[in-house]
């Protein structure tokens, strides 16, 4: 029989809160984590986009000065979320060789990279600090967590743009089912609210320019949506085999029943308008779960609030679920958090897990006039989930044509 995998710990630091609990409470309260950027570089470079979802609690306030100094902000967020998840799981005493990390980022240590380049140009090579390389490498966040919890069963980093951390969770399934390890910390982090990535995303017209109303800017499915809103932070989950969790008497949030990745090979940034790659990922995740599309009650959609992306995902959902789609309650939580890029799948997985565990579906804010081309049942205020066992999926798609989907179920012993 296939090894069952359960979620036993969660941790997050996001634009809504410095931990998973406060993030979830703010999400249910319909808050927005988006605000105007006050940094001097916004005016200095005359950035066309002047707002983002900044972490509610700066990681440097949580870590020691020495920890913060040696970590890029992306790794700082990762360490904060990873520690919370590990503590939430009870900081279990495990065999280090059977403990692994699957922790993603979309962009990596962009602050470190660009600061170091400024230093090189302005002050010469001698002033480029020796920690620069380990701080900028994309596996830095995974390595920071792995070092912290002494994970010796393999520390890996999925890099697939905005699908990265969902892919990391899917990869954890494979590792756990291999029998090589018992427990994994999985998730992802991003810290790219820096003038260069903002300029670059703005240049491709991917970002909302609703500068006068930042809290209303991330509005998935609304007719007036005009792009995504950058966010930053991290999400982490502790995943383990059911056998291992039961042996140590762990509290179980939900069961991770499937995870799959596919690729479009269609366009480097545009989603396949037919949604076939995204649909195949959903179908594969459900197949792993031994479930039918009709079993799904809730989708945490990728729904970034771009004009074309939201429709492409709807098309994919329609392909998979057909007429049953009208029975599925969809949440687009980026409306509150913004888009955490390589960290987004992890926090949305946490929202999906908590929705099942606490039996309440989180709201989508800023939906004023729903796009008639996307006739989904969108959850706009917290909606109770009835008793019983439920199946939910979380979708993530990324530049490069990456599609990643994870499926969670209410845990029933």
């Amino acid at each position: 029989m296939t090894q069952r995998i359960v979620v036993t710990g969660i941790g997050a630091t996001t634009p809504l809160g410095g931990d998973a609990k406060s993030t979830w409470a703010a999400l249910l309260a319909g808050e927005s984590g988006i605000s105007t950027l006050e940094q001097e570089w916004v005016a200095k470079y005359e950035l066309p986009v002047t707002f983002a979802g900044q972490a509610k609690v700066p990681a440097a306030e949580v870590l020691t000065p020495q920890e913060a100094k040696r970590l890029d902000p992306s790794s700082q967020f990762a360490l904060v979320a990873g520690r919370e998840a590990w503590a939430d799981a009870g900081s279990p005493a495990v065999e280090p060789e059977r403990l692994a990390v699957e922790f993603a980022t979309g962009i990596g240590g962009v602050w470190t990279l660009l600061d170091a380049y400024d230093t090189l140009k302005e002050r010469g090579p001698r002033r480029v600090m020796p920690m620069t390389v380990p701080m900028l490498m994309p596996n830095g966040p995974a390595a920071a967590i792995g070092m912290d919890i002494a994970a010796r069963g393999g520390v890996r980093t999925a890099v697939s743009a905005c699908a990265s951390s969902t892919e990391a969770i899917a990869n954890a399934i494979t590792r756990l089912r291999s029998g090589e390890i018992d427990i994994v910390v999985a998730g992802g982090a991003e810290a790219a609210i820096h003038p260069m990535p903002i300029a670059a995303f703005a240049s491709m017209h991917a970002l909302s320019r609703r500068n006068d109303e930042p809290q209303a800017a991330s509005r998935p499915y609304d007719t007036s949506r005009d792009g995504f809103v950058m966010g930053e932070g991290a999400g982490a989950v502790v995943l383990e085999t059911l056998e291992h969790a039961q042996a140590r008497g762990a509290r179980i949030y939900a069961e991770l029943v499937g995870g799959a990745v596919t690729s479009d090979a269609y366009h480097i940034t545009a989603p396949d308008p037919e949604g076939s790659g995204a649909a195949r990922a959903m179908i594969a995740a459900l197949k792993q779960a031994g479930a039918r599309p009709e079993d799904v009650v809730h989708v945490n959609a990728h729904a970034t609030s771009t004009p074309v992306g939201d429709i492409a995902e709807y098309t994919a959902l329609k392909r998979v679920f057909g007429d049953h789609l009208s029975n599925i309650a969809v949440s687009a939580t980026k409306s509150s958090t913004g888009h955490l890029l390589g960290g987004t799948g992890a926090i949305e997985a946490i929202f999906t897990i908590l929705a099942l565990h606490e039996r309440v579906l989180p709201p989508t804010i800023n939906l004023v006039e729903q796009d008639p081309e996307i006739p989904l049942d969108v959850v706009t205020s917290p909606r109770p989930l009835p008793d019983g066992k439920h199946l939910a999926i979380s979708n993530s798609f990324g530049f490069g044509g990456h599609n990643a989907v994870v499926a969670f179920s209410t845990y029933v012993a």
């Binding site: 020691t64 000065p65 020495q66 100094k69 001698r126 002033r127 600090m129 020796p130 920690m131």
Partner: protein
Amino acid sequence: MALDQNEVLAGLAEIVNEETGIATEKVQLDKSFTDDLDIDSISMMTIVVNAEDKFGVKIPDEEVKNLITVGDAVNFIVNA
């Protein structure tokens, strides 16, 4: 004007503290950077570069390996 040994020690202790969190009073002349203070090579290079900035001296890379103790570094900077 030559730098004063005590001033250099105090300044170096601040740099070490900022990089590693080690209390400034533990940074004493007879302490070894690696054996006593547990400072790794990456931190050592950062400390060297910051010391160059702070004291306006040049510490060549080939010299760094000879700076075993805090006193070695202080003397090098004072005599530089």
